[in-house]
């Protein structure tokens, strides 16, 4: 067992974990944060993407012990004060999902992309999301959603609370 201290969505946890425990299983099975799904389990699909200390990573391709001391943000940490993050709102309004399985990873990857490039072109969005697979939408509405979130200022530092429209059912 290895002792780790990890902050996830603003809460700090101290836990003894087996070294072989994957970060995604730690989030889901130990912390009960099932908003992050396991997709392909091979590192290809990106459904399990989370943010670790400011960078998107695939949580199936990282050990929980590697996250010791890190600050992890999952899809469940994006909304603030009962309001959706602009990316969540944009995916809702632009119909950027059908089954929704890839959505948590898509949104975390898109957040990373917008942080580096607050006003990307459609082509840049497609390139930035190439590590995230969607089998429903054909990507058209996902790209639209990310562009709409960029217009709403999702990438300009107003990461939480920037969405001032409407109540969110979260």
């Amino acid at each position: 067992m290895s002792r780790i201290s990890v902050t996830v969505d603003g809460t700090t946890y101290e836990d003894d974990v087996e070294p072989r425990l994957l970060l995604v299983h730690y989030l889901r099975d130990r912390l009960g944060l099932t908003g992050t799904p396991v997709g392909c389990d091979t590192g290809n699909c990106g459904a399990c993407t989370v943010d670790v200390s400011g960078a998107s990573v695939k949580s199936c391709s990282m050990l929980a012990v590697q996250a010791d001391g890190a600050e992890v943000t999952t899809i469940q940490g994006l909304a603030a004060d009962g309001r959706w993050h602009p990316l969540q709102r944009a995916f809702h309004e632009e119909h950027g999902l059908q089954c929704g399985y890839c959505t948590p990873g898509m949104i975390l990857a898109a957040r990373d992309l917008l942080r580096a490039n607050p006003h990307p072109t459609a082509e840049e969005v497609r390139h930035g999301l190439e590590g995230n697979l969607c089998r429903c939408t054909g990507y058209q509405n996902i790209v639209r959603a990310v562009l709409a979130a960029a217009d709403a200022g999702a990438g300009t530092g107003a990461d939480s609370g920037a969405d001032t429209g409407g109540e969110a059912a979260i």
């Binding site: 290895s2 087996e18 070294p19 072989r20 994957l22 299983h25 389990d41 091979t42 590192g43 290809n44 990106g46 993407t49 670790v52 960078a55 998107s56 990573v57 695939k58 199936c60 391709s61 990282m62 050990l63 012990v65 590697q66 990857a109 990373d112 992309l113 930035g128 190439e130 590590g131 995230n132």
Partner: protein, 288 residues
């Protein structure tokens, strides 16, 4: 899938890491070095690797970052792909490495994956071994008997096998500066983020409309990355134009041993090597 159980240590110095590796070797147990984990974690999950001990070198101070060393760059083995792509020194003096690294997998993988990890893993379908080979990089390793430097030409010895001895840790990569050279990494993949069916890393120095010198490394054309030596020889002194470059590139598959698998036959890979070499060299020799 859940990896088989293993012991885990996170040494805080190169000496400590080498000690852990040597200790495992002496005890007859298998140790694996964990860098960014983007190759090792999938292998652990699929239980293609089941080491007794994982030595996590990801946080050893001094193994990360790029430094100017006169006529070369020194790149710490734990420098991530993301950092390599963004580094101003790499972009200025080793543009081929920056360009090829930008095509590795996807952004999330590039955030964790490291240059040293990719080279030590030595997958012939990975992009960076062929780049290190083309650029005549030198690799520094530290082991129980001290430090040594291995030229890239001697580093990749077989499929997933390097000149690193058990107990040795790759600590840094020395890349000569290629100021004034043109470069291009061309790769062909079936889907975004997929492995290269074939990749071609080309660095070209032109003078007066002619190619003075070309260095070309091939990805996925055998069990190790290989230099397209026949093309390099044919290009020396050739005009930097479509026809002579195409003729030189027709030798790209000479001396290679490409695999045949579900993604393509050996003949198809040889064809790709010729086509991509022509494109890479023309782009590298063309206006920047």
């Amino acid at each position: 899938m859940i990896p088989a159980a293993f012991d885990y240590v996170r040494p805080e110095s190169v000496g400590e890491a080498v000690g852990a590796l040597a200790g495992a070797e002496a005890a007859g147990s298998e140790a694996k070095v964990l860098a960014g984990g983007q190759s090792l974690l999938p292998l652990l999950r699929m239980r293609l690797a089941f080491p007794d001990l994982v030595v996590d070198v990801g946080r050893i101070p001094g193994l990360r970052g790029v430094r100017d060393d006169g006529d070369a760059l020194l790149i710490g083995a734990m420098t991530t792909h993301h950092e390599v792509v963004a580094d101003p020194l790499v972009r200025r003096h080793a543009g081929l490495l920056a360009a090829a690294t930008a095509t590795v997998a996807d952004p999330a993988v590039r955030h964790l994956g490291t240059l040293g990890g990719s080279l030590a893993h030595a997958d012939p379908a990975a992009d960076l071994p062929a780049v290190a080979l083309a650029l005549d990089a030198e690799l520094t390793a530290v082991g129980p008997r001290g430090r040594r430097t291995v030229p890239a030409r001697e580093f990749f010895t077989d499929y997933l096998t390097t000149a690193l001895e058990p107990g040795e840790l790759l600590t840094g990569i020395r890349v000569p500066k290629y100021d004034g050279w043109g470069f291009r990494y061309e790769k062909f993949s079936r889907t975004a983020q997929a492995w290269a069916l074939v990749g071609v890393a080309a660095a070209v120095r032109c003078a007066g409309g002619r190619i003075a010198e070309a260095r070309i490394g091939l990805t996925s054309m055998g069990p190790t990355p290989v230099r397209a030596a026949a093309v390099e020889a044919a290009l020396a002194g050739a005009q930097a134009a479509e026809e002579p470059v195409a003729e030189a590139a027709s030798a790209a598959a000479e001396g290679t041993r490409p695999a045949a698998d579900l993604s393509g036959s050996a003949a198809y890979r040889a064809h790709l090597a010729r086509v991509l070499t022509r494109r890479a060299v023309l782009a590298a020799a063309g206006p920047a």
